[in-house]
Symmetry: C2
Subunit: 242 residues, 2 copies
């Protein structure tokens, strides 16, 4: 019933908890730690535990864990089973399709917004996006797929984080986190992403040219292609959830 749960040790809250300057709330610490643990697969999909167990492992009482769980459930990472405990949820191909559709929309909006802001105000952002794309190119030439994935992720993070719309940043951060596992898992099953560099540059050029429609279209087309590559792979692998 509890796959590999008992002996698995959770650590990492201490740092945040003890830091005197940060004065981080326990509930936030619990949320951040659990979210990170789920994203990095330290807590595997299918893991099931009660609030009391989790609280004990994190060295706090049930209250902050309870609040963290409510947030994690809202964001789709866990499911609170009525009287059975907390279940770490996986993502089905259908879930990933939903997530990608949202990212297509949000990143398109972010690119539009950046292009609307005009030239000088965003030259720094454009520079950063270009730098990250260059990092992708170098990583690709070197065959370092992990470095490529890091740079690609950073590009997409920067696009939404620096678009000037804090709500987009927050929403996209929440949503894209959920697709993290799937992207990493399928990293080596996808065709070599040479196309990505070109598409990223198209997005950048449209932003530089202050052409919102083109920027949005380019961003959406880029993500759409990623979606149409990723989802069939997952379907073929018959991942009911991951």
């Amino acid at each position: 019933m509890k796959p590999g749960s008992k002996d698995q040790k959770i650590e990492g809250v201490r740092g945040a908890d003890e830091s005197p300057a940060g004065a981080e709330a326990r509930a936030d610490a619990a949320y951040r730690f659990l979210r990170n643990a789920i994203l990095t697969n330290e807590i595997p999909v299918g893991f099931q535990a009660t609030e009391v167990e989790i609280a004990a492992r994190l060295g706090m009482s049930r209250t902050p864990v309870h609040e963290a769980m409510a947030r994690l459930q809202e964001e789709g990472f866990v499911q609170i089973l009525p009287r059975r405990g907390i279940l770490v949820k996986g993502l089905s191909p259908a879930d990933l399709l939903e997530i990608y559709d949202i990212l297509i929309g949000l990143e398109g909006a972010a690119a539009e917004r950046l292009a609307l802001e005009g030239g000088d105000a965003i030259s720094e952002v454009v520079q950063e996006l270009e730098n990250l794309t260059e990092r992708m190119e170098l990583a690709l030439d070197a065959g370092d797929m992990d470095a490529w994935a890091d740079a690609d992720e950073a590009f997409h993070d920067a696009l939404v984080a620096r678009c000037g719309n804090g709500r987009i940043r927050r929403l996209a951060g929440t949503v894209s986190g959920q697709s993290h596992r799937a992207r990493r898992l399928t990293l080596n099953m996808r065709p070599p992403p040479a196309q990505s560099v070109i598409e990223h540059r198209q997005i950048i050029h449209a932003i530089e040219a202050a052409d919102p429609i083109a920027a949005g279209s380019a961003a959406r087309a880029h993500r759409r292609r990623a979606r149409d590559q990723l989802v069939p792979i997952l379907r073929r692998l018959n991942f009911s959830s991951l």
Copy 2:
């Protein structure tokens, strides 16, 4: 704490609270009630209170109120001031701009998704969208702006709610709720929305034609126009917040 000691009574929680079948949690009741009260201006912008006061009026303890507040803060409805209490936040023109950019993105994604689903599977949805548009048209002819606004809102709700993507529905619901007040407030300051009916039909036609790109473009263009009409009005009125 004496429940009912305050003379001003907030009603609406009781029904949900007492319902034996529903078995609704107090935290959810508090969240729903407070959100609704804020959206309908029963609790005005600028209202400030402590958790204890709110809990007393709702006839519950601080715990569920605390959880509800955390959610409401995440969604931007209130702000928890460090040691001052809870403040009901208003929306600045910049906030509304952010919200509209997100809705542009999400509704575009919803329209794309609907168009991708193809013909037969979505005929029912198309019919509903067409019916709602017709209601708008009739309301417009009758000069009943409130009815028009209701139908317009229902159209947009249906677009995201029936697109098949539950995450889009949830996100859009949260985000668009925040713009509710602003839309209603400026209802009579905007030019007659005859254009809206045409644009809605363009969206519907593109969905029927199974043309995702056109459907997304139409949905975005429609919302973009609304944004570009609404935001300048708010700026001109010098609403720092509402």
